[in-house]
């Protein structure tokens, strides 16, 4: 095998066969990891000839000798005061589950238990109810290289179980912090979120870092929404600018459940989301709004599949890309309406604003329809700032750079304004402004 | 001409008509009034053959034939015309083409000779003047991009063009300004004749200022609960529907 075939990463997986490292792990987890590792060894490395990787090069996986974090994870040295700067203003004491370098950090987390929410972790929690074990073990590994990699190396993750509680929706932050290490590391957090019937939750999923360093965050998060449950999901990806980030998100919706996602992806040198929204029960509804930012030396990729497997569900997906410098955005959205999934209504939209001559966008909004009584649409646009609008602003005395910033902010705000919580929304706005200011090389 | 006896209908689980009787003779104009949700529009659609409304009992005969047995297009050919409250848009379908196809389909069905383009255009121009419709609407797509008033005029144009024996106007007055209401009414009055019957389904009295009915019926909760002459409509306007529905309940 030569380097182009992923020797380094395969070596890492075979070096960490559970047999050698499982001294404190649950046996069932070892079994899963072993199985995934054996799948992984036979998998071809993703390449440009595979439709899912047509526009997304993955040279980094061949170039970087990733290591797993040492057992003595650095979070033990972290005090709550060390991460203060990372916290959302006003949320210092609110419920949060913190993972540092892929490991659960109880000392940094604070969760008011009871009142509907139960937390288990994969590492160290041998009392994980078998239902959850099944859900984690049920994953389809075929053909999903990085997903399988996560399964082969997963060492920790949160299992969040939400029962119907009082009328108030609780907010929970799932915060990932990477502390820079001298050598590139890979984290493989594996989360499961289950909402029972009629339960509701606001989940804020964040990825951030302390210090600039090179690492690969290869996360998996599975969400199961039982009948009539309701999840507000905010995803903020603000990884280090040297990092690679890949998150695999699966959301399964049972009857009459409701899923709302607002996502903002701005960090990482190479970042990708592989999301699947699956309708399992009728009269469920999903809405996803996303903002994808790509600036200097960044590639930011969103792959989104919405599978309408049953009748009478509705979904709306709206992703906006903002490109500056030599940033590259890939958007691949697919709505599938299965045979008999009648009365489906689904709309998929992707808009892109290009601020620079050296940016590139590749977008692929697809529809696959096998039922006739459906209303489905998709749209995509690519363009630059409207010169007329710019001129209008400038003719009113606004300097060019400021006018451009205003228009870009307005473009981004359509997504950002969907975040209902003010502190999070303000934080997201700052993320956008920072990205725009950092670039400084517009048009 | 039209005899409705003990008509019962439902949409899915929901009972809409609960035993409705109505007799309409040639030359008569009947107004059917009633509060929202009383079943007025459903009655109009059942007469035109709308799917999704199940007739669960009773009978409707038109010129002695069972109307309920006929397909919608057969009813049209037999002379039943429904002016829709919300005329449907047909993107890409040219209005002239649509009108000609429809008219000739009805004529064919009746064993009459079809009109050629020249005769048809002459006829349609004549009728358009009658309803003050802008000629360019003929070149446009059926109802697509039409204003509310234009759509209603297009319905009345069809009324004058097809010359049905029984015309049912479903809330034709809704959403019309006073000028449009006047021209629409003029169109309807122009087709009033001894051979033709008209059923006006309306919520308000104001249409009846322009088209004077011979009979007024009040429909509430799936039945006709009161019938009278045009003065009944005036009284309703003054006192509201509760006046009757309450007195019925008492």
């Amino acid at each position: 095998m030569n380097q182009s075939e992923g020797t380094l990463i395969r070596q890492l997986v075979s070096d960490h066969q559970p047999a050698e490292t499982s001294r404190d792990e649950n046996p069932w987890l070892s079994v899963l990891k072993k199985e995934a590792a054996s799948w992984f060894c036979d998998m071809p490395l993703p390449n440009r000839k595979m439709e899912a990787w047509r526009y997304t090069p993955i040279e980094f996986i061949n170039k970087t000798a990733f290591s797993l974090d040492a057992e003595e994870a650095p979070f033990e040295a972290l005090a709550p005061s060390d991460i203060e700067e990372l916290l959302l203003p006003g949320s210092e004491t609110s419920d949060r589950i913190v993972f540092v370098n892929g490991r659960y950090a109880p000392g940094l987390s604070c969760l008011e238990t009871g009142n509907g929410i139960t937390l288990h972790t994969l590492a160290g929690d041998s009392k994980l109810p078998s239902g959850f074990k099944r859900q984690i073990g049920h994953a389809d590994l075929s053909g999903r290289f990085f997903f399988t990699l996560n399964n082969a190396l997963m060492s920790d993750g949160a299992v969040i179980h939400v029962n119907k509680q009082g009328s108030e929706r609780r907010r929970l932050e799932l915060l990932h912090i990477t502390v820079g290490m001298p050598d590139p590391v890979i984290h493989n957090p594996r989360h499961l979120v289950v909402l029972e019937s009629n339960a509701s939750l606001e989940l804020v999923e964040r990825y951030t870092s302390l210090g600039k360093s090179s690492y690969f965050n290869n996360a998996v998060i599975d969400i199961h929404l039982s009948e009539e449950s309701d999840l507000l999901h905010t995803r903020l990806q603000e990884e280090s600018e040297l990092a690679q980030h890949l998150s695999h998100l699966t959301v399964r919706l049972e009857a009459r459940s409701n899923y709302q996602q607002v996502s903002l992806a701005s960090g990482g040198a190479w970042s990708r989301t592989d999301a699947q929204i699956i309708f399992n029960g009728e009269h469920a509804h999903a809405e996803l709004d996303g903002l994808i930012l790509a600036g200097s030396k960044q590639l930011n990729d969103v792959h989104l599949e919405v599978l309408h497997e049953v009748p009478n569900c509705t979904s709306r997906e709206h992703f906006k890309g903002l490109l500056s410098s030599n940033g590259k955005i890939v958007f691949d959205g697919r709505i599938l309406v299965a045979r008999d999934a009648q009365k489906t209504e689904a709309a998929l939209n992707n808009e892109n604003l290009m601020l620079s001559r050296s940016a590139e966008v590749d977008t692929k909004p697809q529809l696959e329809i096998f039922a006739d009584d459906v209303k489905c649409s998709h749209g995509a646009t690519v363009g630059e700032l409207d010169p007329e609008m710019l001129f209008y602003l400038r003719s009113r005395g606004i300097p060019k750079a400021e006018a451009e910033r205003m228009l870009c902010t307005a473009f981004a705000n359509e997504v950002v304004s969907r975040i209902s919580e003010t502190p999070i929304r303000n934080h997201a706005k700052r993320m956008v402004l920072q990205r725009l200011a950092n670039q400084g090389e517009m048009a | 001409m039209l005899t409705i006896e003990n008509l019962k209908a439902a949409a899915g689980e929901k009972e809409i008509l609960k035993g409705l009787d109505l007799q309409v003779n040639a030359g008569e104009v009947h107004a059917i009034m009633g509060p929202n949700g009383s079943g007025k529009s459903s009655l109009a659609h059942i007469l035109a053959g709308r799917e999704g409304l199940d007739v669960t009992g009773g009978s409707v005969s038109f010129d002695g034939n069972d109307l309920l047995e006929l397909e919608p297009e057969e009813r049209a050919a037999a002379g039943v015309f429904l002016a829709f409250q919300y005329p449907v848009e047909l993107p890409g379908v040219n209005n002239t083409h649509f009108l000609k196809e429809a008219l000739n389909a009805q004529r064919r069905n009746r064993g009459e000779e079809e009109l050629d383009s020249v005769a048809f255009m002459k006829l349609v121009r004549e009728k358009m003047e009658l309803v003050s419709m802008k000629p360019e609407l003929l070149k446009r797509q059926v109802n697509a991009g039409f204003s509310g008033g234009e759509k209603k005029r297009n319905e009345i144009l069809q009324l004058t063009l097809f010359e049905p024996r029984l015309a049912i106007l479903d809330e034709t007055d809704s959403g019309l300004d006073i000028d449009a209401l006047r021209t629409v009414s003029e169109g309807v009055n122009a087709v009033r004749s001894e051979e033709r019957a008209i059923i006006l389904v309306t919520h308000y009295q104001r249409l009846l200022d322009y088209i004077e009915p011979d009979f007024v019926h009040v429909l509430a909760d799936g039945r006709i609960i009161r019938s009278g002459d045009k003065t009944l409509a005036l009284e309703l306007e003054k006192k509201g529907y509760n006046w009757i529905t309450d007195s019925e309940a008492a």
Binding site: D372, S377 | V88, A102, Q141
Partner: protein
């Protein structure tokens, strides 16, 4: 054009109305494909040496290639050794005039509604009639020659205009382009050659009518149209085949070249035999069509109405090389029964201020499966490129499918692209409205579907728009349950 119930009824009774077989004596090379067969084809056509070399080079390349497998089109493996690559109605010499054409062939075309007799022909339309592997007649050549227009079969071009042919053949679709283009380059037997000189507006519509007649044959024709500076041509192709319960392969290559200020309008009404309702028989229509807008302000427009074939696989494309050049693609595709269509376009923007428009209307009925696959690529130097794409699908029945796979690649920020796609069915409201005005359900559907396709039919030359509407009604016949 009215789509009345009687007409529809008569179409139903006739089924696929072009399904007859013409009984002519056929000169055929037995099935099989090797260098020798290619040499035989070339020899029979007395081709110049360079053309034989071109074929052999393509064949060598083809042998290295793997048969493509497509994600959304499925068919049993084609045995390329079981196809006969040359079938021609027997004749002594190439027909010099129409009087020498076998009367049986003239009758065939008349039956297809394409009279080759110039007196009876559609006014203003010149026809090249391709029967199986060869061109049997080309009408109005004299009148066209007076205008300086060259309109002949590609075999004749090889004899009479070898320099022109050699310069342009394969210059838009190289023999290495794809599997079926390579095959075509090796075995093409005939097709149409058109050259419009500088400043000439072609005085009539040009058209080629393709007919597959012999069994166990494939048709591999090649069309090459060159519009020199400031010229204009409108070209139309039509195609039919007998009903046979074997699948026949049609693998054509079409190359268009538009020089400065030239315009080419290329229209297709494709009605190959689609197979029966169980999916037995029918033509595999695997075609490579590409236009090169070489000159500034050149304009290439593809319009297609695809109702036939068991499988259609084609993406008429435009390379917008010249500044201010314009590419257009207008398509109606109907699939029903077990038909599959995978069609779309590629618009490659290279020059400055280039504009492309894509309007695709797909209608799927019964168990028809249909995909739109399109690529819009804006190169880094393509300043101010504009693209508008609209893909609408109409589904009739609950067993059909409609899929849209657009690829949009942009490397220049001044580009403006809009892509819209919708999928819908004929609404009950629309049907009821039409029926309550006296139209039968069938007529109502036909009316609504024709409305759905209006934008495309408007792009077709008048006579063919009528033909296309008729075809559409026939195709949809029986689609409603």
């Amino acid at each position: 054009m009215s789509t009345t119930a009687e007409q529809i009824k008569s179409y139903v009774e006739s089924g696929y109305e072009h399904g007859f077989v013409t009984d002519v004596e056929t000169d055929i090379i037995p099935p099989g494909l090797n260098e020798d067969v290619i040499r035989q084809i070339s020899e029979r056509k007395s081709e110049p040496e360079w053309l034989l070399e071109y074929r052999l080079k393509a064949f060598a390349h083809w042998q290295q290639m793997e048969t493509p497998e497509w994600s959304s089109v499925h068919h049993p493996r084609i045995d390329f050794q079981k196809i006969s690559y040359f079938a021609a109605p027997r004749k002594k010499d190439g027909p010099k005039s129409l009087d020498e054409v076998d009367p049986e062939l003239l009758r065939t075309y008349e039956k297809l509604g394409i009279p080759l007799d110039e007196q009876k022909a559609l006014a203003g339309v010149a026809v090249d009639a391709v029967f199986d592997s060869v061109s049997v007649a080309t009408t109005f050549r004299k009148q066209l020659a007076e205008a300086g227009v060259i309109f002949c079969s590609i075999s004749e071009a090889a004899q009479e205009y070898p320099d022109l042919l050699r310069e342009y053949l394969g210059s838009v679709v190289p023999h290495t382009d794809n599997f079926y283009a390579a095959l075509n380059a090796a075995v093409f037997t005939d097709g149409t050659f058109v050259y419009i000189p500088k400043g000439v507006r072609c005085p009539m519509e040009l058209s080629t009518y393709f007919r597959i007649n012999a069994s166990n044959t494939g048709q591999f024709e090649r069309t090459l149209i060159i519009a020199d500076d400031n010229s204009y041509v409108s070209y139309l192709e039509g195609c039919t085949a007998p009903m046979r319960d074997e699948n026949q392969l049609h693998a054509a290559v079409v190359e268009l070249i538009a020089m400065e200020d030239a315009e080419i309008k290329y229209s297709t009404v494709q009605n190959w035999y689609p197979g029966d309702e169980h999916g037995v028989g029918g033509i595999y229509n695997f075609v490579t069509k590409r236009g090169d807008c070489r000159g500034d302000r050149s304009h290439i427009s593809w319009t297609q109405v695809e109702t036939g074939s068991a499988i259609t696989w084609k993406y008429p494309s435009c390379i917008l090389r010249g500044d201010d050049s314009v590419g257009e693609f207008y398509s109606v595709a109907v699939t029903r029964g077990r038909q599959q269509a995978d069609t779309g376009t590629k618009m490659i923007h290279i020059g400055r201020n280039t504009t492309s428009t894509i309007i695709s209307k797909g209608i799927s009925a019964a168990e028809g499966q249909q995909s739109y696959r399109g690529l819009v690529r804006i190169a880094g130097k393509a300043e101010n490129a504009r693209n508008y794409t609209q893909c609408d699908s109409l589904l009739i029945g609950d067993k059909c499918g409609a899929h849209t796979y657009p690829y949009i690649e942009v490397k220049n920020p001044s580009a403006k692209l809009e892509h819209e796609a919708t999928t819908s069915k004929i609404s009950d409201d629309q049907l009821f409205y039409c029926r309550s005005r006296g139209l039968s359900e069938e007529d109502a559907i036909s009316l609504i579907v024709n409305g759905f396709c209006k934008e495309i039919f408007n792009e077709l030359p008048m006579e063919f728009a009528v033909e296309a509407q008729k075809l559409l009604s026939v195709s949809l016949e029986g689609a409603v349950g």
